[in-house]
Amino acid sequence: MTYRPTFRKQGDGSRCQWSNCGPASQAMAADRHRRGVDPKNHHGWLPTPSEIRNFITRFCGGTSLQQNDSAATHMYFANMDVRYGVPWATFQSLIISGRGAILQIRYSVIAPTKFDGSPGFTGNHAVFVNERRSSDGAFLVYDPLADGRRAGIPKGPQWWPASLLKAAAYAIPGTASGCVNASFTRDTE
């Protein structure tokens, strides 16, 4: 059974909350990476978006895969594998192999669907992908915007069709054709 981390929403009232998709996804990824085991240091456990944000910068704005990985490595000993230009077939294979991943996506692809967690938002976004369901190929996606804060916004992890996840990841401007950009947890299985 694949370990499922605690869902973290980015809209938690903390500083920079609406720019915290990266830190929120990283919080869930660190939880998965450590299978919920507290490293027992002076940082809080479970990981929170705000603590990761505060480690990265005192300013608001977007974050990168590298920044979040550096924070999680320092704070939770969760050293992820950040990789760019990952062929989609390889991304799927890494998930099947027993890893979770933070995946960069373009929200304009999600906006017209029932999975939209931020009406009107169409920019670059980060989600945590925990596992793939073999029966239909769908992926269990932890979108930090899916907090059910009002009617019509999904709440918690959702099974996204593979075609949707792939299209959203391909749509990040400048990404190599047929590839995605992601940060992988260790193999926890």
């Binding site: 720019s19 977007g62 390889t90 670059n124 950009n181």
Partner: protein, 51 residues
């Protein structure tokens, strides 16, 4: 395009094959550098969402 094409196992391959592919892919250094595998306009950064 990625500098080196490793063929991924079929989706229904056994988990050991996927683990082997994962280990081999993660060793490729060029995929650690976005400039080596993506187009110049790529930026490793997210945007601010709407409340």
């Amino acid at each position: 395009m990625p500098p080196k094409a490793l063929k991924a196992p079929a989706l229904n391959a056994n988990k050991a094959e996927h683990k082997k592919h994962a280990d081999e892919f993660l060793k490729i250094e060029d995929h650690k550098d976005p400039k080596k595998v993506n187009k110049p306009e790529y930026r490793d950064e997210t945007d601010e969402a709407n409340p």
